[in-house]
Amino acid sequence: MSLFLEISFSAMANGLHNWLAGSISNATLVSVTEMAIAGVSLLLFLVPLCFFLGYMERKVAAFMQIRLGPNRVGPKGTLQIVADTVKLLFKEGLTPNASDKFLFNLAPIIVVVTSMLAMAPIAFAKNFQIWDINIGVLYVSAISSLAVIGILMAGWSSYNKYSLLGAMRSGAQIVSYELSVGLSLISIVILTGSLRMSDIVASQADGWWIIKGHIPVIISFVIFLIASTAEINRAPFDLAEAEQELTAGFHTEYSGMKFAMFLLAEYINLFIVSAIAATLFLGGWMPFHLGNWSFFNNVMDYIPGSLWFMGKTFLIIFIIMQFRWTFPRLRVDQLLTLEWKYLLPISMVNVIIVTMMAIFGWHL
């Protein structure tokens, strides 16, 4: 067991910190260096991640649609997304003449930066976290509420009626679905008593919340999945870019790298949402344990935490992708009906039940 953990990410991070602290005397310089390393490694992680998610999305879609998917560029089409990126890099980034150029160029940057910022408190493995902030969950929901501003900005500054309609829809959608996301997150926070990601993961050492908290937590998990799918503007809630209605919604006028940034942000957001769900409901990097089966539990422990985390995250990513490739899109008023008439009341009642569960210790 120790062998696996030693070479896992957390050990690497600790080793790096000790080495830096040993070789550089100035504490500020150490933290600045660490920040730089974290930033660079985040970028190095995100770009291949987005490549992979793009490839995965195409393949998942293709297999669900009885197709093969990309299979021309590279073995089994793995390099297709690289080819697409190269294409987008060399494409002319058009800026409409009548647009508000400052905001038009700022919007994709805001969208990408906010989604990158939200990566900070995600715990990839034990002690392997960019910033173990004591309000981790609140931080993520605060930062993700910033993304809507980028979308509003993009839609408004494009000087395009479709974009404007898309931005309006997106604004209404994100603002209202944030409530359900928040409430379903709060139910776990109540059970844990902490907003810190590492505490939340640690509280699941004896069982994941979705098992420990049974029905109420399962309900909030489902609500979280639905509401966060809506919050990251993915089908069936992709009204902001509803292709058949608004051609491409808020990013109609974007092309080239600026468009790629929206795409990048979409995939980063997808990952973040899934990672949060995996951390809060499925135990993060905690391995799966079954009661007193020590042999089974030991086998599970041999799998490194980062693998557990990634496995759970990708399971949820797959589910969200399956949503997209199965369901028709909702209409804008139905979207709001779903939130205000179904998700919000249920999650409110659910929070009360969870609170009682936490007080009386009904959970396992």
């Binding site: 649609q65 009626k161 028709p328």
Partner: protein, 373 residues
């Protein structure tokens, strides 16, 4: 420079957007000018003519044998039925008896065409409402149907299989077996269609109560086909004015009384099953005999006017030929179903949302070349 000034909004604060002629959900070059109040549609104005090829005028300079091929390009999804309508009209003028074998082959092909057309429509409806996957399931079965067409008629879409007096050549020896296989395959997939789209709660929400068309309005707009039958108007030409021996075939005219998008959807879904039923009745009973009646090399219609209506996958197609006795028609007019059905779009869409407009367009099942001709 004004970003949201008068050039985007009208004086009354209305927002005017142009949907099409290039737009992901207009299925062709339909241009809709839409007046919006927020998301609410206040007025819809279709602009036509982007794909007008003057098929009617062109036909006036072609012989009676030759003009039929062009009708395949009108409603390209029910190309065979269009050909059949023209052939029937010419036969009416010539007073030629079509051999029973040719009649049965025509009906079989027409029903296969209807089936493939409805399959495409089903996929596109899903696509328009944002569900991409049904499109591919629909195309899987459609491919099988088109393969039958290709084997017997030599083309998948623009068959030109009907000629005055019968069909151009006999069916392929494999035809019966292949049809039976395909029918079996399609019947097993109807449940999947229901699972992924018909029964889906989002789909029901998107279509139920949307785009209501009252029976009176359906009649006054001249709607025909599933669009009218969804409103409870009985207008199946196959029942009312049987042609090519439809009177001998058992099938039900599907009527739904909802009048909304869901009703039109259900009509088409049930029509697919009826088409399968018709094919099943006939496939083992294709009579032996000629596949084409003897006609003169140069067809000349007697002086007069001839009208023939058929039921295409979208409604009633009328072919009106005025003949002056020459070898080519004096005047041809097609009463295309899509043109009339499109005229009801504005009425249906007023007061609903943009998303509904897409749903309404999908369930009218527009084929724009048929509108413009």
């Amino acid at each position: 420079m004004s970003l949201l000034g008068e050039d985007i909004m009208t004086e009354e604060g209305e927002f005017v957007i142009n949907i099409g002629p290039q737009h992901p959900s207009t299925h062709g070059v339909l241009h809709l000018k839409v007046w919006l109040d927020g998301e609410m549609i206040k007025k819809v104005q279709p602009h036509l003519g982007y794909i007008h090829r003057s098929i009617e005028k062109m036909s006036e300079s072609l012989s009676y044998r030759n003009f039929i091929y062009a009708t395949s390009r009108m409603d390209y999804l029910s190309a065979h039925i269009n050909n059949q309508a023209c052939a029937l009209c010419v036969e009416k003028g010539l007073q030629v008896e079509v051999p029973p074998r040719a009649q049965i082959i025509r009906i079989l092909m027409a029903e296969l065409t209807r089936l493939s057309s409805h399959q495409l429509w089903w996929g596109c409806t899903g696509l328009d409402l944002g569900a991409v996957t049904p499109f591919f399931y629909a195309f899987r079965e459609r491919e099988a149907v088109l393969a039958i067409m290709e084997e017997s008629c030599g083309a998948r879409l623009t068959q030109n299989y009907c000629v005055p007096g019968g069909v151009m050549y006999d069916i392929h020896p494999n035809f019966q077996n292949r049809v039976k296989d395909v029918i079996k395959q399609i019947k097993s997939k109807f449940q999947e269609y229901d699972d992924i789209l018909s029964g889906n709660v989002i789909f029901e929400q998107r279509t139920k109560g949307v785009g209501y068309l009252s029976p009176e309005d359906a009649v006054s707009f001249g709607c025909t086909g599933p669009t009218a039958r969804g409103s409870g108007v009985s207008c199946d030409v196959r029942k009312w004015f049987p042609y090519d021996g439809y009177e001998k075939v058992q099938f039900k005219e599907i009527l739904e009384t909802g009048g909304d998008c869901y009703a039109r959807y259900m009509v088409r879904m049930a029509e697919m099953k009826q088409s399968v039923y018709i094919i099943e009745q006939l496939i083992d009973h294709i009579p032996e005999g000629d596949f084409q009646a003897k006609t003169k090399a140069v067809i000349k219609l007697p002086k007069g006017e001839f009208y023939q209506r058929v039921e295409t996958a979208r409604g009633e197609l009328g072919v009106y030929i005025v003949s002056d006795g020459a070898a080519s028609p004096y005047r041809i007019k097609y009463r295309s179903p899509n043109f009339s059905n499109l005229s009801a779009l504005g009425h249906m869409a007023t007061g609903s949302k943009i998303g509904d407009l897409v749903a309404i367009m999908a369930t009218i099942d527009l084929v724009i070349p048929d509108v413009d001709r």
